[in-house]
């Protein structure tokens, strides 16, 4: 049996506010990610995704619980170049060129021979001589991805990797990612774009308020919680300027209850339905 890429047990992070009040950002996560998996961390802002990623990378230590990356401590895995990341809050130096930025990080990894490899893989060749501050948000994001590839990691963690990219750049980014996944890298990405989880992840972990709400093959998560939906048009007299009349809706609920229908909420996209149901966000009535 091979060592999993990542194993977390009872992972919890509590932040202490200024007034002494505590905020539980991550609340007892148990998770195992096998080698070669592509996993999406899906959840709304504030779900605890970034804190979780920080703990995976050893940038934040958990309040309680354990975490192992390839059987080692996260910090050890980082030092060995086995895990790398594109971080949401990771910054670049504006007055380095693209190439200098990659050379600097490659020097710190002791892997100067990787510079040309990652420039080619991420298509940054034409931008190599440009100052970082002259690059667009999407180009900077691509540079961050190049930096993550420098140590030739077995596990890549991406926190909201396509933030600030337009549709074209996003597509290009995921094409590069797919090529990389084919090399057998394990990829974990946090996102709040449902479509990205749907299109790129074999497995989806739904997170809300610091907890895992669902975890399984993306298709199953969608099937189990999204299933099929039914749309019906209410009669004209039941619809006012404020939407469907509450009393009429209550009548419908009562009428449908014997059939085992527990909710009337109707959403369009299937995975979105799962997302909303599980994260407890209010759907439009």
């Amino acid at each position: 049996m091979t060592t999993p890429a990542l194993r977390a047990t009872g992972l919890t992070k509590v932040f202490r506010g200024e007034g002494g009040e505590t905020v539980t950002a991550v609340d007892g996560i148990d998770l195992t990610i096998g080698s070669g998996e592509i996993v999406a961390f899906l959840g709304p802002n504030g779900a605890g995704k970034t804190t979780t990623v920080d703990m995976f990378l050893g940038l934040t230590s958990p309040t309680s619980g354990t975490i192992e990356v390839y059987g080692e401590s996260p910090h050890r895995a980082v030092v060995d170049g086995r895990v790398s990341a594109v971080m949401q809050t990771g910054g670049l130096l504006p007055d380095f060129t693209v190439r200098e930025t990659i050379r600097a990080i490659a020097a710190l990894h002791g892997r100067p021979e990787r510079v040309d490899v990652v420039i080619e893989r991420t298509g940054l060749g034409p931008l190599a001589g440009r100052l970082v501050k002259a690059c667009s948000g999407g180009e900077q994001q691509r540079l961050k991805f190049a930096l993550a590839l420098v140590p030739d990691p077995d596990l890549v963690i991406l926190d909201e990797p396509t933030t600030g990219m337009d549709v074209g750049a996003r597509q290009q980014f995921w094409d590069t990612m797919r090529a990389d996944a084919a090399d057998g890298r394990t990829i974990v990405f946090a996102t709040h774009y449902l479509a990205e989880a749907d299109a790129f992840a074999d497995r989806t972990v739904l997170m809300a308020r610091g907890r895992i709400r669902a975890d399984g093959p993306t298709a199953e998560v969608r099937a189990a919680y999204g299933s099929q939906t039914m749309t019906l048009r209410p009669p004209a007299h039941a619809v006012g300027v404020h939407g469907i009349d509450d009393a009429w809706l209550a009548d419908v609920r009562r009428a449908l209850a014997p059939l085992g229908i527990t909710d009337l909420e109707v959403s369009s996209a299937s995975l979105e339905a799962a997302f909303l149901a599980l994260t407890g966000e209010e759907a439009t009535r």
């Binding site: 990378l57 940038l59 934040t60 980082v78 030092v79 060995d80 170049g81 790398s84 990341a85 971080m87 809050t89 990771g90 910054g91 670049l92 130096l93 007055d95 380095f96 200098e100 050379r103 600097a104 990080i105 020097a107 710190l108 990894h109 002791g110 892997r111 100067p112 021979e113 990787r114 490899v117 893989r121 961050k144 930096l147 993550a148 140590p151 030739d152 094409d175 797919r178 090529a179 990389d180 996944a181 084919a182 090399d183 057998g184 074999d202």
Partner: protein, 268 residues
């Protein structure tokens, strides 16, 4: 699974690589190059002290201690340039950490201690630039003194400027934000006046100035020439007083830096 495949030769050729070690010198070289390219920064580090040297006494051949006035002013301005250099580099290092580059570095095998060592090396390399340049200008325009004056003053000005790396770090850790580095270098100008670096002071101002951070450092750099005697008969500073000033401010800046770092960590 994806169907697109671009083979990564690096990945397939070596299944488990030997542990690579950070090439700190390469990183420091890139970082130094970046610093030297910063035109605004280098203006304050090199051009401004050179200009002030020109204004305050370039070529003034009146004798002063074992040298002449031009030499005295030259040492002061070189010291000012060196201090601005270390303050700027150290301040930028603190800012880089808070702007997120620190998180990128945290994903490499580089230890915090090695980072501090790299930044210190870069700061000291940049500090050598104004000293070398202003001494070269001085040599060409009639600063004169004996060999000990030249070598000892340059050495003290260079080594002593390290104190202001601690200062730059402290200011940028205490006042966070992008402007912290500008505040730190701006304060250096005021502290230089108070520290008897620009125009010679006397009376009450001198008494106050003795307690400011640049006073001890600049006094020590000029000590080989002046042996502690102040210009225009304003008095004499024993070497212990100058050393005490430097030691006291080293402790104060270091304590401030540690306090700033702790406060910042707590907020995370």
């Amino acid at each position: 699974m994806s169907t697109i495949s671009i083979p990564d030769t690096q990945a397939t050729a070596t299944p488990r690589r030997p542990a690579a070690r950070p090439l700190a010198v390469s990183y420091a070289g890139l970082d130094l190059k970046r610093q030297l390219r910063d035109k605004v920064g280098m203006f304050f580090i090199v051009a401004l002290p050179a200009f002030l040297f020109f204004v305050f006494g370039m070529g003034d051949d009146e004798s002063y201690g074992s040298a002449n006035v031009a030499m005295y002013v030259m040492v002061s301005m070189a010291a000012y340039g060196a201090v601005t250099a270390t303050t700027t580099v150290a301040g930028a290092a603190a800012t880089e950490q808070t702007m997120g580059w620190g998180r990128q570095l945290a994903l490499t095998p580089l230890s915090s201690l090695a980072f501090v060592a790299i930044k210190t090396a870069v700061a000291m390399a940049v500090a050598a630039v104004p000293i070398a340049l202003i001494y070269a200008i001085g040599a060409a325009t009639g600063s004169s003194g004996n060999a000990v004056d030249w070598l000892a003053s340059a050495g003290i000005a260079w080594l002593g400027s390290a104190l202001f790396a601690v200062y730059g770090l402290a200011i940028c850790l205490v006042f966070k934000g992008e402007n912290a580095a500008s505040i730190a270098s701006g304060l250096i100008v005021i502290l230089s006046f108070l520290g008897n670096v620009f125009t010679p002071m006397d009376g009450l101002m001198l008494e106050i100035g003795r307690f400011t951070p640049l006073y001890g450092y600049a006094g020590l750099a000029r000590y080989p020439i002046s042996e502690g005697y102040l210009p225009m008969g304003a008095g004499h500073d024993p070497v212990w007083l100058l050393l005490a000033n430097v030691c006291a401010w080293t402790v104060i800046f270091a304590a401030l830096a540690v306090w700033g770092l702790r406060r910042r960590r707590e907020r995370v």
